[in-house]
């Protein structure tokens, strides 16, 4: 799968006229200036400002919602007993799941030496970072006394007690913190050589200093590259099982508890695949938007969209298998309460969330069997959006339908998210969008040096063949 994309299509009409000299070398310079030119001379500033202003409003909404929550306590939410995990935890799982696709695209495809990854990995990883930040904020906000969140860490204290290491809640703390740290570092060492390229292209003093600081003085020495390559590949190799472990652990928050609809061994793979599914869908949406907004048509080609469509379809079908496996498990085991929960999902008060998930996740998805739909930006964007919403329904459904009617009939009760939960969710989208837009505006969104490396390797291979 290395035929045409890592090396952008030379016949693309948007590209300038061919220049003299070695054509490949001119491509290196053209790729560098196309990618590093975006932070230095950003196109369409007005559109960016409009989007940024909207995102800032959402961020303000987040600050207001969090302030109300802190001032008045979690009582402003609709959480109750029995449904003590509401929107906060379902959104936590949703955001974290989206984040996983960035790591998978970047690390897994690096290890498989798929060159087409190079046009996608940088912004997919940035998406991971900000999605993990959003996810990480939710459990902290959900704590009744969020300022005591550090009690999760094992530190010597005057109470002489330790966290309960046999609880998935303690595992969660370690998993998410490790994942955040590894994602930040993997993204950062991947961007350093490109920051050096931006530093070398910038003319203004302020830009030179800022990019120079973060480029760490990178100068592309062969010895540096050799060690960098070892470290980058090893971190990628470690990041792939990390993703699997993190989302499996999230699923254990549910599966380890004796709750009907949760207590099942299918949960870890079901969650990991659902996470990758929702994440690939969101990466597709972002790829379509960035390609259009920044005119990156020769770097993010229809072939990239095609491959993203295939990934979304494949993980989507695996997730669908999880739905079947879950139903089969319940009916085969024929345990009274589990069956009751299953029927609650099909026809209970929250059936809309079950059928919403099934329809939004899997019905439009089938269009991705068609090559023309996969290569169509609008089609792929709409299907991605549908999957994003569908997976949100799924997380909500898994949480609420299991909790609102468990074993003890006397404690059955409904759950409705309050205004402040919805406003926090909308605000959290601002928490995601604001840093992402800053990333798009000020940093190289595509890995220029890896695109050039792939171009070089392809020409060497072509010549050897």
């Amino acid at each position: 799968m290395t035929d045409d994309t890592a090396a952008p299509d030379r016949s693309d009409p948007r590209e300038g006229p061919p220049q003299e000299g070695d054509p490949r070398r001119d491509r290196y310079a053209a790729i560098t200036s196309e990618i590093t030119g975006i932070p230095l001379h950003y196109p369409h500033r007005r559109n960016w400002w409009i989007l940024f202003a909207c995102s800032l409003m959402l961020l303000t909404l987040f600050v207001v919602s969090a302030t109300v929550l802190f001032a008045r306590g979690v009582g402003v939410w609709g959480n109750n007993i029995p449904v003590n995990w509401g929107l906060a935890i379902s959104n936590y799982v949703w955001f974290l799941g989206i984040g996983h696709a960035g790591t998978l695209i970047s690390a897994l495809l690096l290890l498989l030496n798929e060159h087409w990854r190079n046009s996608l990995n940088r912004f997919a990883e940035a998406m991971t970072l900000f999605a993990v930040v959003c996810a990480g904020l939710y459990p902290i906000l959900h704590l009744g006394r969020p300022w005591l969140f550090y009690w999760m860490a094992p530190y010597p204290n005057t109470m002489e007690i330790w966290p309960q290491f046999q609880s998935p809640l303690a595992w969660d703390f370690f998993a998410v913190l490790t994942y955040l740290t590894v994602s930040v570092l993997f993204w950062y060492i991947g961007i350093v050589p490109d920051l050096a390229a931006v530093r070398d292209r910038s003319k203004k003093r302020r830009q030179q200093v800022l990019y120079g600081l973060f480029a760490l003085g990178w100068r592309g020495s062969a010895r540096h590259w050799q060690r960098w390559r070892q470290s980058y590949t090893l971190v990628a190799a470690i990041a792939v099982p990390l993703v699997v472990s993190v989302h499996s652990e999230i699923s254990l928050l549910f599966a380890a508890g004796p709750i009907p609809g949760w207590h099942s061994t299918v949960f870890p793979p079901y969650f990991v695949l659902g996470a990758a599914f929702s994440g690939f869908a969101v990466v597709s949406m972002i790829a379509v938007c960035l390609r259009h907004a920044l005119g990156l048509y020769d770097l993010v080609t229809p072939r990239h969209l095609d491959l993203l469509g295939k990934l979304t379809l494949a993980t989507g079908l695996m997730t669908a298998y999880g739905y079947f496996a879950e139903i089969f498990d319940v009916l085969y085991a024929n345990e009274h309460q589990e069956v009751a929960t299953l029927y609650d999902r099909f026809g209970g008060d929250y059936a809309w969330s079950y059928w919403g998930a099934v329809i939004a996740n899997f019905v439009p998805l089938q269009l991705l069997w068609l090559r023309s739909v996969r290569r169509s930006p609008v089609g792929l964007f709409l299907i991605g959006l549908s999957v994003g919403i569908g997976m949100w329904f799924e997380r909500y459904m898994l949480l609420v339908t299991s909790l609102y009617r468990d074993y003890l009939v006397s404690s059955w009760g409904p759950y409705h998210a309050s205004f402040w939960e919805w406003s926090l969710y909308a605000g959290m989208l601002g928490v995601f969008m604001v840093p992402f837009l800053l990333f798009v505006r000020f940093l190289p969104v595509i890995s220029a040096f890896e695109v050039k490396e792939a171009l070089f390797e392809d020409t060497v291979e072509a010549r050897d063949a």
């Binding site: 002489e160 330790w162 046999q166 120079g212 760490l216 592309g220 062969a222």
Partner: protein, 186 residues
């Protein structure tokens, strides 16, 4: 590789090449000519360049392994220690069940392996280092775009300024620069 001290005449002589292949060839010829303290610069990693320069440094990989082992032991040890330090007896269950400790052990293994890996990479590369004599060369900014460079350090045992310049000009080189020191001798 240690850099020349400010006592040498110049920091080095830098040749600029249009193509990666020209750089490989130049590296080979420089080694044949007896130059040992040389360094190549490219806009992207090139494996063939490592072979040409004869670099083989596996320390980053080894330190990643060390980090993983340290993290794993630390993670497991922490859980065993805290559970024995404040034992909670529930239903006669074990105080230190390995199954329950595996996830955090794995996470700590990953965390320390990654920290050691990246830390070692930066330390061995002597980064961050915001200033470097090469940044004083006008065309060196192209090393991050599309040009390839070969540097002969000023403290190479065979280094002689005029000869090194002539040697580089004799290769398929588009430009030769003298890299001066940025520090005064102490």
């Amino acid at each position: 590789m240690r850099e020349p001290s400010p006592h040498t005449e110049v920091f080095g002589i830098l040749g600029e090449f249009e193509k990666a292949e020209a750089l490989f060839e130049a590296v080979g010829k420089a080694r044949d000519a007896g130059y040992r303290r040389i360094e190549a610069f490219s806009p992207f990693p090139i494996e063939a360049l490592d072979e040409a320069l004869g670099i083989e440094d596996r320390r980053v990989a080894w330190m990643t392994l060390v980090g993983g082992i340290v993290g794993g032991l630390l993670g497991y040890g922490m859980q065993v220690y805290t559970n024995l330090d404040f034992p909670i007896l529930i239903d006669g269950r074990a105080h230190t069940p390995p199954e329950a400790f595996m996830l955090i052990t794995f996470e700590m293994t990953v965390l320390f392996a990654v920290l050691f890996s990246i830390g070692t990479m930066l330390a061995l590369n002597r980064l961050p280092r915001l200033h470097h004599p090469l940044f004083g060369v006008d065309s060196f900014h192209l090393a991050s775009s599309d040009k390839f460079f070969l540097l002969i350090y000023g403290d190479d045992p065979r280094f002689e300024r005029g000869a090194a310049e002539r040697f580089l000009i004799g290769l398929d080189c588009v430009r030769v620069d003298t890299v001066g020191h940025t520090e005064e001798p102490e």
